[in-house]
Amino acid sequence: MGRYFRRKLLIYGLTFVIAVSINFAVPRLMPGDPVARMLTRNSVANVESSEAMRGYFNELFGLDVPLWQQYFNYWGALFRGDLGVSVFAFPSPVATVVADALPYTLALLLPSILLSWFVGNALGAMAARNKLLDNGALPIGYVLTAVPYMWLAILLAWVGGIILGWFPVAGGYSFALTPAFTWTFIVDLVHHWFLPFLSLFVVALGGWAIGMRNLVIYELESDYSNYLQALGAPNRLVRRYAFRNAVLPQITGLALQLGVVVGGALVTEVVFAYPGLGSLLLNAISSQDFFLLQGILLFIVIGVLVFNFLADVVYVLVDPRTRLGLEGGQS
């Protein structure tokens, strides 16, 4: 078990270092010096912010120091929580801008990921033992996994927001309201939250259901299921075992799918102009705000790694094989 976690932590640590290094390297290695481009463009458009940017840039990335020193400076700044200053939201520091948007994204992501996982697994397990349900659910499941996240979001916004007019199609809350801990505001918040949540939930649902269906069928055909049945075990017991064992790979899958779902959340937010990281990202791109862009990437990477680690912990708790440290689970 110790080995299992050590290995995982090593991978996550490396991933973090590599993500940071990509962040560091990309602006410097890209042809045409994009940072300089950004600074020049900004000096025309926004003199004030450009000055600050240039100062920041020179202080930390000073082109006159050797590359390795720039690299260490970069890490140093990172550990001080200094991700630079946002051009788009000048003069807020990137860390603040991202931290402000983060709750919205989490509010979309966490419920949709967890709910789609639970509901999808339940549906899949049901489909695995019911031919009729299977024939209906399977094609729907495949269509859902094939739908691009933003397209379903657009369709939902169109139907639920424009045609039916039941839900707002843009923003995290009404412009008329100011954020406050009041009943009206919370209802409004949920009202705005619902469609983007639903969109993410529905797209992810299909994949979980299909995965679970296949896994349960596989488990039901496995040797231990056959043996139990040969000894006259009632279907109830056989299914209980099959379901329990089929869930295990789905836990690993939850961690592995995360990157994709986060991507889905980003584009879904763009569709609904939902004030999370996705919308921020769009703004960062259109105003060529590279520091902000990189800050968002770092937050996402950290979030994904933390979530992966949590999934590992859960996995160890439910699978005796990893716990025993023999035949170590998937690494």
């Binding site: 231990y224 056959n226 040969a230 000894l231 006259g232 109830r236 005796p320 094989r321 035949e327």
Partner: protein, 316 residues
Amino acid sequence: MTLEVADLQVHYRTLKGDVRALDGVSFSLADGEIVGLAGESGCGKTTLGKSLIRLDGRMRHVGGTAVLDGDELPIGDDKAMNARRWKEVSIIPQYSMSALNPTRKIGKMIAELLRARGKSYREFKDELVRRLELVGLTEKVLDNYPIELSGGMKQRVVMVLSTLLDPSLLIADEVTSALDVTNQRAVAETLVRFRDMGFVKSMIVVTHDLSLVYQIADTIMVMYAGRIVEKAPAETIIKSPKHPYTRALIGALPEVGLEYGDERLQSIPGKPPHLLNPPTGCRFRARCPLASEECEAEPPTVTVEAGHEVSCWKAN
């Protein structure tokens, strides 16, 4: 008479049509008898074993009957069979190494299984432990997950579990093929001991390894392409086989105890026919050195002496 099988036909349904894996199998098994079932791989041994306890989704009971202790087994009726499984018919499957749920402690799994069959774990616990000790395991294995045990240990757990309810008939399918020679002998001896101690009344030991089954079986049946071609006391099968196929098997039999039966069988030229469209007449015809025109007709089953039956035109 413990078991009476008459003209049993079981097919596998495939896209290409029915594979006639059992095509008219008849035999009987006396109280306390251990019968060995031998033949090349693919001849239908596993199918025969499974037919007597549980058909899988692709198998279809086409005809014939099996009567156990005077009561017909409802072979095609999965629900009705359930009551008879484990208590009356039981199996040690070919895949013993992976037969235990990997994520349940062995004791807990057995308890849940017993409870699901309406039995109390507590009542059986002492007997279970006694039998585990009999095969050289300790009570401690009940607290282990399957991966904590070696292959041989898992095999023994399955043997004890399968026979826990003292079934009349036990099917042991290739129980030794995955083991090394020492373990093979130990397992074979355990099977005999289980019979002697009354844990099981009679037994069908499926194997492609004639030399092993010869050591423990009272009677040996030789199967070829979905049919039984010869049945006789073990001595007789080895010493004076009548069917050309059996003779080829024996002739190809090297020193006792070699591992893989199939390799020797390659010394019989040719391959067994595919069971999608089995040939008419004697199915061994294409490979038989004695084949002649009459073999194009179905060979009769002749009793050459008491307890020795052969399906071949040239049996006498």
